[in-house]
Symmetry: C2
Subunit: 253 residues, 2 copies
DNA sequence: CGGCATATTGAAGTTTGTCAACTGCAGTGG
DNA sequence: CCACTGCAGTTGACAAACTTCAATATGCCG
């Protein structure tokens, strides 16, 4: 059975979060970050503001971990031992209702930190996390980082900035869900993906459309229809490539 | 013209946030908290975890301010000088779309802190805040609290806990909006308002139904219909009084 | 009781979700 | 090289849920 292709299998047997090397899976082998991974990590928002000593402490606490597409990182209700920072790939954070329907809460890409809010809260994860594609993550032990933050103001300040940012982003999400229709959400997303001050642009989606649909709180079909509704505003879609002829027209949607 | 009853007037002439005494308005007079207000403030989540010295510092930084129902506390885009903690009454945080439609992001009641995320972020408010009824608030100067947090780990820890809490609450909000229908949202709200482990309950809404509707992301009419849909699950509504005959039946909605 | 704001109800109308069929593409294996 | 397969995405038809508008009812406070 192909684990990466069978959601049901994933749903009952959690992936253990191993690091794979040359096609061979070595479960739960946590490694220090290699230099390429370190270079990515130190540029992420949560690390970039740290002073040299705080940065060293955090790098010492980080381990690297890989997941394959559709692997489950953790589930709602499990005891939270770690929080994560994405080095490459995308991770979905989502909830289930009692019928088993899923709703994405957040899509985390390179540089994004997630579950760090549990540093100062209850002992359990509050949502599910799944790799949307093959991902590399930096993993941090919650208890150790909490201890480090108590001693180093740089670290606690970085965590606060991260929390404050996520809070505002999530509040934006609530407001957008409640105020905007599907084409408006898509237009808004495209505009935030455009370089500032440009009159036209062409964008390559960094992930599948189904993932974008979830991020925007839409069914994949609704995203499709939103794109075709945006054609009259000069938006051309071919695969992951999106051509925007008139940025100002998009703003009027 | 009655300021408290004319939304348009409020929309163009911002209330200055004065403290009123015996019907006479004294604009912008910021006062130290009286002992009753202090007693409330020290029990709020953000203050309760502070040690004695941190608590004293924060109380010294706090000023009391009253607003009348429908007063605007601040608007999106304004420079953020203060964050607030609700001592009594309710405050709506909301956004406008370009058609002028409003969507509530959060309803803050006694003990709730808001806009504290700006301690570590950009200089502007990111949403509007309006008194939903007559309110008393503790106001904190952002720059001063930021300085205090740098020196006192208790304070920065309290802020982090507050941020983490709000983040999780807001993520819950996104998930609930995306997963639950109107009756389910109302049922969920009622269940969180019930004492734990009770089989039946009677609740008094702490605010107007229109405010509850906004909190749940619904039009007032949709809330009304949700309540009448819940009648068959043993929910009786008369004014602000709500009788729940069977808590378990509500959980099945 | 009057006056006003809040809440409820009914009747459209929108928007989105759901289900199903179909397309297009990429990879597989004969 | 080509049929087969599996998956992502699109499209259509329909249903469900919610909003909006309008009319009416209820409740509150002078």
């Amino acid at each position: 059975m192909d684990r990466a292709r069978d959601g049901q299998f994933q749903a009952t047997h959690q992936a253990a979060g191993g690091r794979r090397a040359s096609g061979v899976m070595t479960v739960n082998k946590l490694l220090r970050l290699n230099s390429r991974e370190k270079n990515i990590l130190v540029k992420t928002p949560i690390m970039a503001s740290l002073g040299p000593s705080a940065l060293t402490k955090m790098l010492d606490l980080a381990t690297a971990v890989n997941y394959e597409s559709r692997d489950i990182l953790f589930r709602e209700g499990e005891e939270a031992e770690s929080f994560y920072c994405v080095l490459s790939g995308y991770v979905r954070l989502y909830r289930l209702n009692k019928d088993g329907r899923e709703a994405d809460i957040r899509i985390c890409g390179p540089g994004d930190t997630f579950a760090e809010c549990l540093l100062y809260l209850g002992p359990n994860y509050r949502y599910n996390a799944q790799a949307a594609e093959n991902v590399t993550l930096a993993r941090f032990d919650i208890a150790r980082v909490r201890a480090a933050a108590e001693q180093d103001v740089d670290i606690s300040r970085a965590i606060m900035q991260s929390l404050a940012n996520h809070l505002l982003t999530t509040m934006d999400c609530v407001a957008n869900d409640r105020l905007q229709t599907a084409p408006q959400r898509v237009a808004h997303f495209l505009l935030t993906s455009c370089p500032k001050e440009s009159t036209s642009a062409s964008i390559r989606l960094p992930f599948q459309k189904s993932l974008l649909a979830g991020k925007l709180g839409l069914a994949p079909e609704a995203l499709s229809r939103a794109f075709s509704a945006l054609r009259r505003a000069g938006v051309t879609v071919r695969g992951r490539l999106i051509q925007i002829n008139d940025v100002n027209a998009l703003k009027q949607i």
